[in-house]
Symmetry: C2
Subunit: 253 residues, 2 copies
DNA sequence: TTCTTTCTGCGTATGCCATACGCTGTTATG
DNA sequence: CATAACAGCGTATGGCATACGCAGAAAGAA
């Protein structure tokens, strides 16, 4: 009744609490043979090596030389493990922007950092996200993004909207390129041949009379040429930041 | 060797070919008791009623009064069924924009149409997408989007980028609101209480010294107030279209 | 010391899932 | 009326997450 200023509210699963450094080792009982971070690291190792689909409780346990059910002493469910994998997979945030950087420089750096993480660990895109972030490093990334907008005249809600907009864009773009990579691996085709193959397929399927605009796109050979995907990313990002800039100007004026 | 101008290229699964109206009924053998559309409709009915997780081959078969394995005479795999479910779930596209509409009016209408579909059928967001669209109605939506940009000076590749940008935004925004809805249902909480609960939780977890910007957001009560989510959507959409407008102006000038 | 509590590790079992395989019966054509 | 080509589907396989409860370890209480 008197102990903690708990405020009640939603209760965090034990494994997540341990990610926040709360929760000490219980006084009795045998010494734990593993720990939440050990398990999460093993799971990340599996995902890095063989993709998210290979991450099963039994596979992670095997990676640790333990039995499947032993893991459940540390994580409440596979979903919980996935949440912790995301937190660990993103890694620590970059830290706040340099003091001389304007918001656009900062957010550009921020977006590229996430872009890079998702390029290296595309399995992060396949983890079903079930809600807003509650893990320490995830919130660290959010903090960094907010810091970039510190000097602007945006309202706090607008800052959040801007971050959501950008992170959403980064994830979408990463999803598209990872789909090409994974599709080419599955079909045993060169990645550079994926989009041309797709263009030929669609061209064979559609009637130019019913899909004139699409037919024009195909005829232009747009899907067949290989723009460097990083240029494509930078292009779209600048489009979005232009929109943000317009908003910031208006709020400042 | 001489028959069709086939061009070879990737081969389409039979069920997808049937969605394009290719593929006639074979001359011999018993009359089929069902059809690809029947199965897809049943699957969509299950998803509408109980969510995507409830869509299993056996559940869909039960819906049709058939045995599980009977479905495999019509669809090659569950993934194929999912692809067809997406095509059917989106429904037919709106059709091209009115002849007097400018690109911005057209794309706004286009984005809101997808927004509405995803609001009604949030399970569409949970279907893992494995590549660019190859089904008729999906390509119909793409055609409509391209038509909106017909009068502009954008290159064909830029038109595609713009559509990808917008559809990505629509899906992201829909994902966020659907997460709130699903989370509240899972936790047995009023939807309006979700974000305030989240804000309290994060406030309890973070150290204001290490997360100053985030702390400021929480103090502003931003996450607690219930902006009408449609306003939020419209706001972000306008931000993106501002960016597009800047691009179109530059190309026109 | 010995007993008790509380924990860890994990073997077993349950119930779900997608789907490979092969049998039975149907249909239209030769 | 024989036969080829197909539809329906029963059965079996191998995967999965995870509920449950037991055996033994550690640390405090007696």
């Amino acid at each position: 009744m008197a102990a903690k200023t708990d405020d009640s509210g939603p209760v965090l699963p034990p494994a997540i609490e341990s990610a926040w450094g709360l929760r000490e080792r219980p006084p009795k009982g045998p010494r734990p043979g593993m720990s939440v971070p050990t398990i999460v690291d093993a799971a990340v190792r599996v995902a890095d090596a063989d993709g998210l689909a290979a991450v099963s409780m039994s596979r992670v346990a095997k990676e640790l030389g333990a039995a499947t059910m032993a893991l459940y002493r540390y994580v409440g469910s596979k979903d919980e493990l996935l949440m912790l994998m995301v937190d660990s997979g993103y890694g620590p945030s970059l830290g706040p922007p340099g003091p001389r950087d304007d918001w656009r420089t900062g957010l550009t750096r921020w977006a590229w950092a996430e872009h890079e993480v998702l390029r290296r660990r595309s399995w992060l895109l396949h983890v079903p996200i079930s809600g807003p972030p509650i893990t320490p490093q995830q919130l660290g990334w959010m903090e960094d993004g907010l810091r970039c907008l510190d000097g602007t005249a945006l309202g706090e809600n607008e800052k959040m909207s801007v971050l959501l907009l950008i992170t959403g864009y980064v994830r979408n773009e990463a999803t598209l390129t990872s789909q090409i990579a994974e599709g080419s691996r599955a079909a045993g085709v060169e990645p550079a041949e994926m989009m041309p193959g797709y263009a030929r397929l669609v061209g064979r399927l559609i009637d130019p009379a019913r899909f004139p605009a699409l037919h024009r796109v195909l005829s232009a050979g747009v899907l067949s040429q290989d723009d460097h995907p990083d240029d494509e990313f930078a292009f779209g990002l600048d489009r979005i930041l232009d929109g943000v800039e317009a908003l910031i100007q208006r709020r400042a004026g």
